[in-house]
Symmetry: C2
Subunit: 437 residues, 2 copies
């Protein structure tokens, strides 16, 4: 089975756990049987592999997520990197061309496209497998998943069965109806459109040639910025008459808000949190190293990270986006291809950061024009390179790097943790020049 | 006017702003006309000086508060340091002896003792001035302040007027009656006992000799640990028949809980906090450098500091103490005689701290047996001494101190800020040896 997972969004609605460079799908919030936590993307990847160990998984995403994906899923997964955001038609066209041109998949093979962030059970992937089989061996151009509605939602798109004058089946698509319309649709047997599509590669390659002028991966990639911003639903699905819809009756949650995310948590508290016995229906997700104490709270979510602290009534939490957009701040933590960093202190002419390198990983060899840096190794070990000079380092070692000097650090077998103090009046993530080592 | 302010308590009930070494009276929470914030102790000291610029103020407290008092009030204030806690009779006896023996105040002069933490208006100090005058020039041994009750509280002590068989006035004292009794007392004209006493020094010196065997400051100080734990109310007031009570009708709040403290705040938010318009009666006090966002909250207090994060219904906040006692953690920030420190990161074999030295202040010259330290100066400037070697330092300079080496830092005219990385497997505040420089 070939699967394209669409991984989008900057995820302001799950602030402070998501930020401009960590989307919600990378937050480790789901408890595994072994007690460790996994993210949405890890969970869905594991579920796909459980249903089909040989599945070829490709993630369509932006450059900013590549490090996090490799950190969380390893290097087996394919990534179709979108040079910028151009909505789902361009993303699916690019990823389909990636499968054909880069991964060498035959255009007669099918692929299933699905979002990376639904909270579902394994039967969802069995349904996806059926979509795949139907697309590869059936006679329809497109096979969609229709999700059995559990309430007359005004947020989702609906797939309604429609019959033409000859009694042949067809479908109509409606986005976000009001409640009354939604109730009527459900009575008529409509299903939610979960954004899951299966097709043969040739189908979308052909659409790309017709609508974008090319189905070549390199041409799509290089001209990506000029592609029209249009959704796959609008550009392809709604104009297609040869469609099959397979219903899905299992668990399906859209974890887009704190309210729905909390419902999917196995236990009410992640991290150091305490609630007194007058609290009810309260969830705490605390990524800070200090305790959270809740007293006398009802129907609330508390979330703390180096980005900030959210205390919200669960229902109100869905209105968070404009408030978070108004908080204009430096990114306080990030996953990198080599590990992670977390800002500990912001001073007037300084920034103190904890840097964690995964075993045998290294930073880029780089320099800064406007800041000096000092590293104090606090755990693990490895090697630093400063202006070409190598040095083996262990806890307690100090490395000083004046502005302009080229530097990197390479972790040994046990990884390496260091405190980095940046010094200068113009500290910026943009002040960075990379070199070959 | 001579005043003794009793400054006690570790203040767990205002966690996370107060901790074992920062009591609630030092939290800067009251907005001054100039927009700066001041603490309870700063506010009450300023009020005393506004009513009597020549007032001699002595603070009776424990050693752990001396640095904070000097930081916040300067060096003009007298401090009677209690070697350990021995309740209010011993504290008042020691402070009275301090006034007499150390400050040379004549035993015919009066003094007023009052707690450091009531939230009151200026008329309270005019009433205190009247107590002072009455004690110095009147014919009673003790003059007390009686606070006009505003509700039948079960938390306070009551002073009830009583008449003997000859119609002469007297008073009886009752602690924490139930609500019904409290209502009855108020009908009978009882007042709250605010713990404010005025007397001539000779009166308490005499009591000290009778009850403790000495009125000598040095003998009381040196034998303090063996003094009986007993309250001044119990040891002196309740046994005294020559008492006058002056009523106080102004504002009086006991700021012992988040609920009452929030009521005394000029504005609902201190620090970086935002509330959406569905919030009502919510207070935020945020000492962390990251934003707090509250949505859909009612009747709540949110407080964040390096010690932790409290999210509490206002009424529930009065039950906080046992929960805080269960949080057994390292002290994360503290005021010192030379400035302050704040823990930024706790690692397995490391601790990262931001150290701020006030202008021209210095640490003790000291060493650690079980940890290495690294200083990175990030702002200001000054001088370090390491094993006797002096060095002028400025931002970017790095000082390394292996275990066992003697070290200190002395701030220059603009103060000095440094990031200290402690390295070792047994990092403890107790691992410190001091030396003469």
């Amino acid at each position: 089975m070939n699967i394209i997972l669409l991984s989008g969004g900057s995820g302001k609605r799950l602030w402070p756990l998501s930020n401009d460079i960590r989307s919600k799908q990378f937050i480790k919030i789901f408890k595994k049987p072994d007690g460790e936590y996994e993210s949405m993307v890890q969970r869905i990847y594991g579920q796909i592999k459980a249903v089909d160990p040989d599945a070829t998984v490709t993630i369509a995403t932006s450059k900013s997520q590549v490090s996090a994906i490799h950190n969380q899923l390893g290097s087996d997964v394919g990534i179709s990197v979108e040079p910028c955001r151009r909505d789902t038609f361009a993303a699916i066209a690019l990823a389909t061309a990636y499968l054909h041109d880069i991964q060498g998949i035959n255009e007669d093979e099918a692929v299933v496209v699905c979002p990376v962030d639904p909270y579902v059970d394994l039967s969802y992937f069995e349904c996806i497998n059926s979509l795949y089989e139907a697309a590869e061996h059936g006679d329809r151009n497109l096979v969609l998943m229709g999700i059995q509605p559990t309430y007359p939602s005004e947020k989702y798109g609906y797939i309604k069965p429609a019959q033409d004058a000859n009694g042949n089946g067809g479908f109509t698509f409606t986005e976000k109806p009001d409640r009354q319309k939604a109730e009527e649709y459900i009575r008529q047997g409509a299903l939610w459109n979960g954004g899951v599509f299966a097709y043969k590669l040739s189908y979308v390659l052909d659409k790309s040639r017709k609508l974008l002028g090319t189905s070549s991966y390199s041409k799509l990639f290089n001209g990506y910025r000029d592609l029209e911003k249009i959704s796959f639903d609008y550009a392809v699905v709604e104009a297609e008459t040869s469609i099959e819809v397979l219903p899905y009756h299992g668990e399906w949650k859209d974890l887009g808000t704190w309210n729905t995310l909390a419902e999917a948590m196995e236990e009410p508290i992640i991290g150091d949190g305490r609630l007194n016995d007058t609290c009810s229906n309260v969830h705490i997700i605390n990524e800070l190293g200090i305790p959270v104490l809740g007293m006398g709270l009802k129907d609330m979510v508390i979330s703390a990270s180096p980005e900030g602290i959210l205390v919200s009534d669960k229902k109100q939490s869905s209105y968070i986006k404009p408030f978070v957009e108004a908080i204009d701040r430096q990114i306080m933590f990030a996953e990198k291809s080599w590990g992670s960093y977390c800002v500990l202190d912001v001073g007037k002419g300084s920034l103190t950061v904890r840097v964690t390198l995964d075993p045998r990983h290294k930073m880029n060899y780089h320099s800064h024009e406007h800041r000096d840096e000092v590293w104090v190794v606090v755990s693990g070990g490895g090697k630093t390179v400063v202006d070409g000079v190598e040095r083996v380092v262990k806890p307690g070692n100090v490395v000083t790097m004046p502005a302009g000097c080229k530097h990197t650090v390479i972790a040994g077998e046990e990884g390496l943790e260091l405190i980095e103090v940046q010094l200068g009046l113009e500290i910026s993530v943009l002040d960075k020049r990379k070199y070959e080592l």
